[in-house]
Amino acid sequence: MLLSFRISLRNLKFFEVEIVFVIKIICKNHLEKFISLQSQKYLMSILKKRGVGRFRHLISIDELTKEDIVYILRLAEKFEPIARGEKASKALEGMILANLFFEPSTRTRMSFEAAMKRLGGDVINMTAQEASSVAKGETLADTIRVVGNYADVIVLRHPLIGAAKFAAENSIVPVVNAGDGAGQHPTQTLLDLYTMEKEAKLEGSKVALMGDLKYSRTVHSLIKALALFNTKIFLISPAMLRLPEEFIEEVDADISEVELEDVIDEIDVLYVTRIQKERFPDEEEYRRVAGSYVLTPELLKNAKEGMIIMHPLPRVNEIATDVDGTRHARYFEQAFYGVPIRMAILSELLGG
């Protein structure tokens, strides 16, 4: 029996994943009853390699239910002391994470690296520079197949939308989407939700989103997720960077367009995003518009005591640095929360 498993694992590239998935379900419940201890160990080693948790990959926030999200947030909470270095863990000892970054994002890459290492695992990296030279000679599909033989999980960042989904279809190990162009970046959304829950409140909260609401993938994913938590969403943006009408119609949420001063005294969260220069026809226009969306302590005068300010970072000048010292600033904590969230995801995918 074991021999045949070995053969099938070598030869049946895609079918194999299905087989393992089925075995996984059977084994989780009935392992002891049917197979010898040695076989159990072998099977478990395969299962560990192929993902044993609730998900096989993490590609899009849209594929998670509210229950899934709550589950991940609870798991992240458990990992927080380890993420802070207060406790040590060897949960993912002997496992390797491969960072494949086809465009640079040092912050996200380091956050995944920290999460994996805090859990006792190891990390191998393909930098954006290496990736671009690989991309010239090899397809993403081939790179994924090759790296899947070196690592237990692949974290992918890629400029094309859908790249992570395509990678997952070609991968024998779990794939985590760390941003695919204007597409998805699910761990960012999860850490945003976690920050709200920890630092303010999530369920039933009032959240204002300010800045570029038209092009920001962070904002779009966040709104979809917030809709699951009965939040009231306020939109604050320049006219040309408004949230697309089509998007508002599609999302089943309580959404309204406002000015900051109208809602500052009632919101629980103010989520600020960057307004990018490339979106504007000329420098003049950019400066004028971006300049009127800079958050200063002055604008926060009427804010509720517990209102928090979030930002996906890096910021340019949309939050004045003298806001950092106010009781509202949480963007650096938010960046930290990426670590326990990513620990939760990795541990779930790898069965740590």
Binding site: A141, L160, G162, K165, F166
Partner: protein, 160 residues
């Protein structure tokens, strides 16, 4: 009476009967060349095909009709026609008799038929990848959503 002929159509009948094969009737007017493309019938194909475009239809005003002689096309293939001709009906003919008749239903997923117009979509890269669209209906309209980038398309004939 011909296998697709109705009373009011009879005098407008422009294509002859077939002995064995598939008759696709009630095709939205002008769409029959695209229907052939969807079915993979084109230069190099061996099937005998007769086509009638913009003929009178009591039901639709105008319609196209296609007859493919000597070929039985699978339901799966035929249902792809619903992407651009949701009213189309299929008659399978054996020895001049209609052996089965059904209306096409849009498939849930289609691969490699629709081209995603989003230049930043992975399906337009040089990867070994098939385009894949999820199909749903919005009222009477057939809508396709790219499985990779989420782009929604309405006038599908423009992307086939």
């Amino acid at each position: 009476m011909s296998e697709f002929e109705t009373k009011s159509d009879r005098k407008h009948l422009v294509v002859s009967k077939i002995k064995n094969g598939t008759v696709i009737d009630h095709i939205s007017p002008g769409m029959s060349p695209l229907v052939l493309k969807i079915l993979g019938i084109g230069p190099g194909s061996k099937e005998a095909v007769s086509m009638a475009m913009n003929v009178h239809s009591s039901k639709m005003g105008k319609k196209d009709i296609l007859k493919v002689e000597g070929k039985f096309i699978s339901d799966e293939e035929l249902n792809k026609i619903a992407l651009i001709a949701p009213e189309a009906t299929i008659n399978l003919v054996e020895d001049f008799e209609i052996t089965r008749k059904f209306r096409v239903e849009p498939p849930e997923v289609v691969e490699n038929i629709i081209k995603c117009p989003n230049q930043h979509c992975i399906s337009n890269s040089n990867e070994p990848i098939k385009s894949r669209f999820r199909i749903f209906t919005d009222g009477r309209k057939v809508v396709a959503k790219c499985d990779y980038c989420g782009k929604k398309l309405y006038n599908l004939q423009d992307y086939i």
